[in-house]
Symmetry: C2
Subunit: 360 residues, 2 copies
């Protein structure tokens, strides 16, 4: 079969160019006679690959020198626990913004370790919007403020960065990192599972301002302490080497294709194609407040859920896969991360229009 347009929410589609390069280099990387998968993590070949990946990520995101970049394991789910363990720093209370499924998981995990103030919640409208900062009940003594930049399931994305003054801002950027320009210096800590906009599952990126490292009270066990990983430059134990290599190839691909600014333009274009079409019909419906609609994940329902199966079947026949919505919300979801080409979204909109005509 030729390549499909894969709308999976994560693990997700990767640039075909990156996959072809990985295939080519699999058995013999750059004439070294070995696969990247086989390289000692402390050998000069892999150290070079990891250093280049970090340098490219720093360049792409404009990460200031006083921020550490960590390549860890465990996904955002482990960060949900490591963040309070490391950042409460004896303060006991953290502020969280509740915007949906992923915020809920972060809040639940944080409650194990301290008090959580939910300073704003979109629960009153079934998580279909991003609460405006004017209504947030921030605590000046909170250890940090946590929010979820993009809700993968609900399809809600912050189009702005919260202002939290001296209180460190902590952000789950798993599903929109590198998809739009952000000012890293406004954040205390940014984290992201790699499997949406970056590379294979099993790699987690943490970007942390250096003054927040090593202040945990009580001191966590080494594997849960950011200080361990900062001190060892992500090599306290064997890092997920092959995933770091693929992430590095994706960073190179991003640079070659105009970086984050170009990706943002493309993501605006792609999401606009879908939302503009959704605005012309009531055959499909997206419940999200227009100003807060995600550029990455576009959930929509068919007016008649009895047609869901026929819709998915037709999509698959046309080479479009993984459009089924998350089991918690039903309907459809098109995840259109950086690596999804404009052509994929156009094909989807064409098909949606065609399906509406034949079933509307």
């Amino acid at each position: 079969m030729s390549r499909v347009f894969n709308f999976s929410a994560g693990p997700a589609t990767l640039p075909e160019e990156v996959l072809r390069q990985a295939a080519e280099e699999m058995v013999d990387w750059h004439g070294s006679g070995q696969s990247v998968m086989e390289m000692s993590h402390r050998g000069k070949e892999f150290m070079g690959i990891a250093a280049a990946a970090e340098a490219d990520l720093r360049e792409l995101m404009g990460i200031p020198a006083n921020y550490k970049v960590l390549f860890l394991q465990g996904g955002a789910s482990l960060q949900f626990e490591m963040i309070p363990i490391n950042l409460l720093r004896g303060k006991g209370t953290a502020d969280y913004v509740h915007t949906g499924e992923w915020a809920k998981k972060a809040i639940k995990a944080a409650r194990i370790f301290g008090n959580v103030n939910v300073v704003a919640s979109a629960e009153d409208k079934a998580f279909t919007y991003a609460p405006a900062q004017a209504g947030w009940k921030l605590d000046k003594n909170a250890a940090y403020v946590h929010y979820t930049a993009n809700e993968t399931i609900g399809g809600v994305e912050f189009q702005w960065t919260p202002e939290t003054g001296d209180v460190p801002l902590v952000c789950d950027m798993s599903s929109n990192i590198l998809s739009r320009a952000i000012d890293v210096s406004k954040y205390g800590l940014i984290y992201a599972g790699a499997q949406k906009n970056i590379g294979p599952a099993g790699l987690t990126i943490v970007i942390v301002r250096d003054d927040l490292v090593g202040k945990a009270q009580p001191t966590p066990p080494p594997m849960l302490d950011y200080k361990t990983h900062v001190d060892a430059e992500s090599m306290y134990n064997t890092p997920p080497t092959y995933s770091i290599y693929i992430a590095g190839l994706v960073f190179q691909w991003l640079k070659k294709n105009g970086g984050v600014a170009a990706m943002e333009r493309k993501n605006v274009e792609k999401s606009k194609l879908l939302y503009d079409y959704l605005g012309t019909t009531d055959f499909y419906r997206n419940p999200v407040n227009p100003a807060d609609r995600s550029r990455m994940n576009v959930p929509f329902t068919l007016k008649d859920a009895a047609l869901d199966e026929a819709f998915l079947k037709g999509a698959k026949e046309r080479g479009m896969t993984q459009l089924k919505g998350h089991r918690s919300v039903g309907g459809m979801r098109a995840s259109i991360y950086n690596a999804m080409p404009v052509a994929g979204v156009k094909a989807l909109v064409d098909y949606m229009r065609e399906f509406e005509k034949s079933h509307g």
Copy 2:
């Protein structure tokens, strides 16, 4: 360059056949139009890959039905912490056998969570042997007994399985899992980082007897609780999908090549080639008690350390890499896991003999 003989201690050489298959399937797995890296972990394609990997591992190791198999992240280092967190079960004391660098790390981590009795130690002879069980001072009320089946750095391997009666036996099998037949039913928990005998770094295998799951006191945070991962069948959060796929290919390769019994014969043959030669010369030296010598990692020193660099240079010219010993012990180390062909070890012995002649 053609493929080298890569003697890295981990990440380590993989079967060329597996790498070639991975390369071929990278862009389009089995006609699905997508890479395994891009598959939703909850889609039927990846669920099938993961189920097959588990079934093959169960078959290869003869894992009884009352044991759970987990595919986790974080390496053995995270297990060093998760084991006491989960298995102390309010008992407060665990027995550990101290055999070298890796045992030391496991002991250090366990001491954060409870009392550790070092019931036997090889420190008196610089960790050059496996302490006979007759001398172990086991505590019948210990929560568990922990040992390191193979010390990657010291080159010491247990050729026998300890008997601990009703006290669960816990084993770090990172560097010799699947290299020899073992009776899983004698263990409470076995764990192994994948990057030596299994696949890419970033995957950790945990095999745990079901009565040990869910008894932790106090209840750990979800990501550190075996129960979370058992209940979710390793899908509480996104697992390291691509690494699981490669591990699955390695398991298939093992089955096709006679399984663990055939590997064990091959590993005996390979290590014998090296140790037999070492027995004929005092130009090279291996300090380990002959009965406890590792089949996986063969450390040796040159009589004259001033020749180390010339030795490594000549080896590299002959396509043999990563022979430099661990920085903590110096000298050389040949890691000869399952995927190292007999031809690689023969080439190494030939070179060692040649080098001895020209420099002896």
